[in-house]
């Protein structure tokens, strides 16, 4: 056996070690991204969950104005801090809509009373069916939908204060 071939297993081992170190240093993205970015919002019509809050349908989103559609829930812990950031966005003129996942009216009323209510409309999605049809995989997630009802951007995880600039610029692009 030639000398070079003899060192092949060692070289292979080194290659594997380098690959492992590289993967440890740059962890892969485990978020599942919706493949609907750039496509129209799937048709849906969710019923209202609170008596004083209009329901949400896909037709409400295609009204010529960009919308921020927030997939949230009263039982979702990061949503508590996110809803305050959404209020800031709302105060600067953003139209914020909510899809409440697996929620109960009483829980949601309490959630909005104690954390603020930035939502123009809230649709109830008790079995996550609209969430799945949007390609969303958890709460909270947000979608920026342009005036024609096309999804322009998906934000996975809570919108933090530091994301406000990003969200506003995405909304501006969707105008």
């Amino acid at each position: 056996m030639s000398r070079t071939i003899r060192f092949a297993p060692l070289a292979l081992l080194l290659l594997i070690i380098v690959a492992l170190i590289w993967r440890l240093a740059t962890p892969s993205d485990t978020n599942v991204h919706s493949t609907l970015e750039g496509k129209a919002v799937p048709a849906f019509a969710l019923s209202a969950i609170l008596p004083n809050k209009p329901p949400l349908s896909s037709a409400d989103l295609a009204n010529g104005q960009p919308h921020l559609v927030n997939v949230f829930a009263s039982w979702c812990v990061p949503c508590i801090t996110e809803v305050k950031v959404l209020q800031t966005l709302k105060d600067s003129g953003v139209s914020v809509e909510g899809i409440a996942i697996r929620d109960r009216p009483a829980d949601l009323t309490q959630f909005l009373a104690s954390n603020g209510d930035p939502y123009d409309r809230i649709g109830s999605d008790p079995q996550s069916q609209v969430q799945i049809s949007l390609g969303s995989s958890g709460v909270p997630e947000s979608f920026i939908v342009d005036g024609k009802g096309v999804i322009r951007y998906q934000h996975i995880g809570p919108i933090e204060r530091s994301d406000i600039g990003l969200i506003l610029s995405k909304l501006e692009q969707a105008r």
Partner: protein, 135 residues
């Protein structure tokens, strides 16, 4: 000590908070009355990846979203939809990631070609070995 207790209590509370207060969807843990349809649904659910517990299929996962996806699969199968159509509908939303069934797209070619390549390399090595022995 009190601090430790508090930490234990916090660790305990976390998984409880990750779920909603609503009961599971109707078809999430209930078999379809038609055994043929149930077998179809079962086969599909084992090939769909859970969005929450990413190493599990939705048939295996206890996550609420997996339950809601099982409900979706069973309701659509009961309504007469073909499993391939349901899979395609989900792939349209989540990409091929959602399906465990390998596709024939270019990214998967190495997967299909690897066994063939390994067999050829093995054959070549054995041939060399035999030749060397004879020599």
């Amino acid at each position: 000590m009190r601090c430790l207790l508090l930490l234990v209590a916090l660790a305990w509370a976390q998984p409880l908070l990750a779920d909603s207060n609503l009961p599971p969807a109707y078809w999430s843990d209930r078999q379809l009355p038609d055994p043929k349809q149930e077998a179809q649904a079962e086969a599909l659910m084992e090939q769909l990846r859970c969005l929450v517990c990413q190493g599990q299929s939705i048939a295996d996962s206890d996550a609420e979203l997996a339950g809601d996806m099982r409900d979706l699969v069973r309701r659509r199968i009961a309504a007469g939809e073909k499993p391939a159509a349901i899979r395609a509908w989900l792939i349209q939303r989540y990409g091929t990631w959602i399906s465990y069934k390998p596709t024939a797209e270019p990214a998967a070619w190495p997967l299909w070609l690897a066994p063939l390549a390994l067999l050829l390399i093995g054959g070549w090595l054995i041939r060399r070995r035999i030749r060397v022995r004879r020599g």
